[in-house]
Assembly symmetry: none
Homo-oligomer: 149 residues x 4
């Protein structure tokens, strides 16, 4: 007999961890000499922590949040979208209009031991710079992966 | 030494359970002879399951969803708001403008063993009818509370 | 003498039928091993019934509803749009911005004996998967077509 | 001869200072034992820094941001609105519909030597709690006022 399941258990990013990632991202931004906006969202895409570096362009505030949302809400890094779209014209012309969906680099899922717990989004430079900032933050996350028992 | 917490564990309503509550709500609606809209959301207020009974007024579609959202997003039954607002004029004139917040009856948090796992919202009758439909559904939930070990 | 027409009769999907389609769609989703969001709307595109399978990506909740809306609101399966747009640049670059319009697969009109009574929209996989789920549900609808006298 | 003025100089909150205020607010939230959302905006109301404490209700995410926006965008603490509205019916029934305007406590301008540089908004408890959290953060700001030469 199959058991009736009333609720599904899952993990969600803590503020403490979100702030650690934010700090690493800001540090990387300073190294690159570019003022970025950096957003951390929880596993359903709700804002958890945010920082706009001094001088970050106004447009970057929302793009960073949308990238983080996109990454968590579809469990896919935003730079992975284009390869899947480029030879699929209906998607290429269609899905890009989805509200808050960003299909260029700078948004990554945050995972602990392969479980999605949140997302990070960065905006302010070319997306190749934004991606470097995300990756610097996610290195912090990867350290924690090895520590979790 | 305090341990660093990367993620918070929590429970979220399953589709199976949401459908069970929906079924009980529709059943109660038929007994009352009123066509209701009934929405079940997860613990962060995202839509999980929905049914509009045949003849449900168009306005009820969104109100039901907003009630369920309100109940989950603030962990409070919607009919409990007014008592807290009526002698607090700034809130009474202010918080009612919050997007998607409903302050009259027909939205309830769904809990298992006191943990919030979702919300239910009903619209279509006077809110006193809407509340009866919610309560009929939540009786199903309460049965499961006693079963959880 | 021409008769004066005060009102037009039409058919609209019942909740009972919508739930039957929803159930078949969820069943197909389980077979594919992908968590989908599935929306059924009535003939004017208003939400009738909805289910988000456990683990369905957050983005899929709204896309599923928009696909169902698109299908009913234009009486056209969403995958049929691109062929009509691709050699018509004004439409290709213009109509895709229409709010809630989806132009890739996963949304179908629901008809009984060729009369539009609603729409179904599915999201969660590639649109080719989403289409399979819709088609599984619509097979149920086709059984009813043959039964109607 | 009057000099032609091409641009106006102004001060805006730094990320470093915003984070200091955020930290003090989170600390106060822990003391009160309530999970708050805390938003810091710059002098034009754009998001500068944000933190959602673990367990903060979903509704608080946006209300906190709106309070901070209201405070900076009108250079007025949100709890000061109601006294100005209560005997002015056109405003009382009209201005409360302004998008993002919050008229109950929990939003404060941030000033250095009487110059507006940003805003703070807190949500999660009754607004009297939200105000305590803001005030704890603004004490940090007042320390800096005395230091400025």
């Amino acid at each position: 007999m199959t058991e009736f399941v009333t609720a599904i258990e899952s993990k969600n990013i803590s503020l403490e961890f979100a702030n650690r990632l934010l700090e690493a991202a800001v540090q990387k931004g300073k190294e690159l000499g570019i003022p970025f906006s950096i957003a951390i969202v929880d596993k359903v895409g709700n804002l958890k922590a945010f920082a706009a570096m001094d001088g970050a362009p106004v447009l970057s505030l929302e793009i960073a949040q949308n990238k983080a949302f996109s990454a968590a809400a579809y469990n896919r890094a935003t730079h992975e979208w284009y390869d899947r779209l480029k030879d699929d014209p209906p998607l290429l012309h269609g899905i890009v209009h989805t509200e808050r969906l960003v299909i260029f680099g700078g948004g990554y899922p945050i995972k602990i031991n392969d479980e999605l717990i949140g997302g990070i989004g960065v905006s302010g430079g070319h997306y190749s710079h934004d991606m470097q900032v995300c990756e610097a933050a996610l290195e912090v996350a990867s350290e924690f992966n090895s520590k979790v028992v």
